[in-house]
Amino acid sequence: MVNPAHPALQAVDRETSLVDAVTCPGCGLLCDDITIARSGSSLEVTNISCPKSTAFFRQASQNTSIPRVAGQPATLESAIRRAADLLGKASQPMIAGLATDVYGMRAVLELAELTGATLDHMNSEAAMRNIYAVQNTGWHTCTLTEVRNRADFVLIVGGDIVSRYPRFFERIVWNNESMFGQDTAARDIVYLGGPQLDTAAGISPRNIKPTVIPCDNCDLPQVVAALLALVHGGELQTNNVAGIPLAELQHVATRLAAAKYSVIAWAAADFDFPHAELTIQQIAELIAHLNHTTRCSGLPLGGSDGDITAAQVSSWISGYPVRNSYRRSYPEYDPYRFSTSAQLNTQEADALMWISTLDPLRTPPLTSLPTVVIGHPGMQFAHEPEVFIPVGIPGVDHAGIMFRSDSVVALPLRKLRESPLPSLRQVLDGISAELGALAC
């Protein structure tokens, strides 16, 4: 076993085969209790059962690749030169994807400023739903440890959570011990929305089944609006909403009001219907209302593929989360115009740099624009980009820092193996140097 002291900063001893206290970037929960068995460059999770974590480390174990220019093997230097050339000649480059860690994201912002680029994250369609809610109304939220120790009622809206965050229940709902002596197995769980969910994870250790109130997610706007009205004490002139008997919603409203500390959790990716931000705002309003008399917090789940990390770093350096642009020499923000799809569809952008260091399956959107991909060494393309530069995976090939789902906890990622691959930061710094370093 390796001493976990300052894990982010120590290269792991080559002789050891087991590494514990590893942070897993496989989803936004960033569980940091993973033990990895390492043999050569192959990595296997040994101590927990999580499909995301297992897949993340298995994908990382695949053979590394080398840079390519126009489909032909190239040296790192020549690939960097070609990428710089392509970006430098573009009048409006788009840097998108942005699945990386804090250090990678800092380098992205520097390069964006140097090239006058527009920025967007691969998960923004979902993540912006939450960001709009923050920018328009705000919200009451809490963090994972708070749920783990305090929640007596968890209302899950729009999905099963565990498909995206597999250890959600294991780590923060069905934990054995809690700070304030709560009987955690007695936690009250309600699923609202999402058709045909697998709600097995919501069954308590004492085999108490959760309440499941299914509906199509495109009906969530009216269902949540009805729940908000009921929480406000309103009377609705109907006996069902989107097929849900009103009495069932009334029962949820009553339990929310009676709970000492309820948590309303959702993954914005499940809210795949137009203007979902308005439904999130209604949830925020519902939570705000409950907080006049009791305590209730939202738990917006995100953070996968570095989406929270990108928004955090971009906010402190530019002032804006993502969908911002340096085209005018100062940062601007336009969440509609600066989206990847708008930039590509309108051909406002004339070159694309796609960054995807965590998941090889997240390849760039189909486009005729000249494209540079900097990403996971296991990436494969239906359409070969002009330049592909494989880089190290944060938390595997090099140390790093990522933000967890709750936007509060930033966890160190550690280097798990020796790697011939450069980090994203090194590659972007190389491109910046080619283009003439920024004054700073």
């Binding site: 300052h6 900063l9 940091d32 923050v134 705000g138 919200w139 708070e146």
Partner: protein, 558 residues
């Protein structure tokens, strides 16, 4: 390399120098008393007719960490009005209420400030605070770690653990969060809010732990003292913004039982309940108590009129204030059974009775408190106003007729409730230098900052004397950071990165056994990952951790 600053009028209160014309020599980033024999002057600046002070130090400014970044994220409309374009020396960003990190550093330096301290570092969020401060150029920085509503401490108090164990935990927290001081925010109140309590007065029990704010203040102020940490416990008291809280504040001064205590943004805690609107100034009583209690220091948290945003660890108060948001939005968070935060945009208006009186109360406190060594110039950036309003605030303090004119524009009912126009005091340059330099460095234990004596770091600001003090303090002629010229005529000419000041008191590491078990049982992160290492701050050699001296562990107590 020897730099000579020739013939400036020097204000260096740490050495009782009050406007004396003298030369200053800088060698390798440090001030030296005299050049060596025959040592040539590499560069000379003719400062005849100029005013010379140490670089200013903002001892309470929210520049990094979760709540600040939430404020950035939620206020695109505010950023749009103040873009900072990419220039020869500076990277792009945005300014005003919550500037981007890069712009924060540039604008502080352009105002003659060479250090700023983030007063509310949640230990669980310390990594983020340091990441943001690392991206804040030129100025030195540091943070105060927040304790007092964290479950571990409250548990210790309930269990009546001995003071030495508490000292060990406090010291461990300072190490883990790379902080220079300890702050307590609404002691016990952030926790109480999570148990649905809405107010918590000094002698009221937290509903779960049966611990009072007074208990918390007592053990923490004592821990800070016994660990030899120079910076007194930084206290954001109970009942922020509540009319009548002046009584709580006066009692809080007594709660320290003689241990040093710093009451921060005291303006927000100096409200009475007199008058038709049951809102009045408690400034006279506060100033009188400050004058009497030599163990107490304070900063004001002056408000200025205009748009800003309030970012606080005090989620109990911020939840109460959420309805006053302008624009109407608020983020309130419960965080990791450790702390909380609340972010509410706010617009202070001079025609509004309460806001106008808040403005007057702040100035009354500044002017009635006698000892500038125990009084600090802050707006609690950005809560009272953005830090860029400091030159205006300095003019209000130094220029009575300017102040009276401003007072005359206030809401008339507020004017009737304030004694401000009857106060004649005008701060001198020497007193301003105490509040913003020598006093701040002394309070924080920055032994080589805030003064111009031999051995000090050459953080130096040079101004042109001007009766319009706002103009004078807005655009220094020169700012030197560690001996390098970084600002000329109010504009950046070189970008450096500054250091992070910390303290590392000794403690019994046996406490980690308990903490490890505690983290493994209740938390969602590994204890080792909770700790921020000095290497992280030094990333790419751009940052540097400076460990300021603690005067040794004082006697253990039985």
């Amino acid at each position: 390399m020897l730099i000579k600053l020739t013939g400036g009028k020097v204000y260096d209160p740490a050495h009782n120098i009050d406007g004396k014309v003298m030369d200053i020599f800088i060698r390798d980033g440090r001030i030296v008393d005299q050049p060596r024999d025959h040592e040539p002057v590499t560069q000379e600046y003719d400062l005849r007719g100029k005013v010379v002070m140490a670089g200013a130090i903002d001892m309470h400014t929210h520049i990094g960490g979760g709540k600040v970044n939430i404020a950035r994220m939620m206020l695109p409309e505010d950023h749009r009005g103040d873009p900072e374009a990419h220039s020869e020396f500076c990277r792009a960003g945005c300014g005003h209420a919550v500037p981007s990190t890069l712009t924060t550093g540039y604008r502080y330096a352009e105002m003659g400030y060479t250090a700023g301290f983030e007063p509310a570092v949640l230990p669980v969020n310390a990594r983020q605070a340091h990441l943001e401060m690392a991206d804040t150029p030129i100025i030195d920085k540091g943070g105060y770690a927040m304790l007092g509503s964290d479950d571990f401490l409250l548990r210790m108090l309930t269990a009546k653990k001995d003071q030495n164990a508490i000292n060990d935990y406090v010291a461990w927290t300072l190490h883990a969060s790379q902080a220079i001081g300890i702050k307590v925010v609404n002691p016990g109140g952030i926790s109480a809010f999570k148990f649905n309590q809405r107010f918590l007065d000094l002698d009221e029990n937290n509903p779960y732990y049966h611990v009072t704010p007074r208990d918390i203040l007592k053990v923490l102020s004592r821990a800070v003292y016994e660990l030899g940490i120079p910076k007194p416990l930084h206290v954001h008291g109970n009942n922020l913004g509540v009319p009548g809280n002046v009584e709580t504040t006066l009692k809080t001064m007594g709660a320290a039982e003689g241990y040093p205590l710093h009451l921060t943004h005291i303006q927000f805690h100096s409200y009475g309940t007199e008058g038709d609107r049951k809102f009045s100034s408690g400034a006279a009583a506060i100033a009188e108590a400050l004058n009497k209690h030599k163990n107490i220091s304070a900063d004001v948290g002056q408000i200025m009129f205009g748009q800003t945003v309030t970012c606080s660890g005090d989620n109990m108060s911020q939840h109460r204030n959420a309805g006053h948001g302008h624009p109407r939005k608020a983020v309130v968070m419960d965080i990791e059974c450790d702390a909380g935060c609340g972010v509410v945009p706010f617009k202070y208006k001079d025609e509004n009775f309460v806001n106008a009186l808040q403005w007057a109360i702040g100035l009354e406190i500044f002017l009635l408190a006698e000892d500038p060594w125990r009084m600090f110039l802050t707006t609690d950036h950005p809560n009272g106003a953005p830090f860029t309003s400091y030159p205006h605030l300095i003019r209000l303090l130094m220029d009575k007729s300017f102040r009276d004119d401003a007072f005359g524009r206030l809401n008339l009912d507020a004017q009737a409730m304030s004694t401000l126009s009857s106060i004649d005091r005008e701060y001198s340059l020497y007193e301003i230098a105490i509040m913003t330099r020598a006093g701040a460095a002394k309070l924080l234990g920055l032994h080589d900052r805030g003064h111009l004596g031999g051995g000090a770091a050459a953080d130096i600001t040079v101004y042109t004397e001007n009766t319009d003090r706002e103009k004078m303090f807005s655009t220094p002629n020169y700012v030197f950071k560690d001996g390098e010229l970084v600002v000329k005529n109010g504009k950046i000419v070189k970008v450096t990165w500054g250091s992070t000041h910390t303290v590392k008191p000794e403690f019994d590491r046996g406490i980690e056994k308990d903490l490890k078990k505690y983290f493994d049982t209740y938390h969602t992160m590994n204890m080792e990952h909770f700790k921020v290492s000095a290497d992280e701050i030094a990333d790419n050699s751009r940052g540097r951790v400076i460990v300021q001296e603690c005067k040794g562990r004082r006697e253990k107590t039985a």
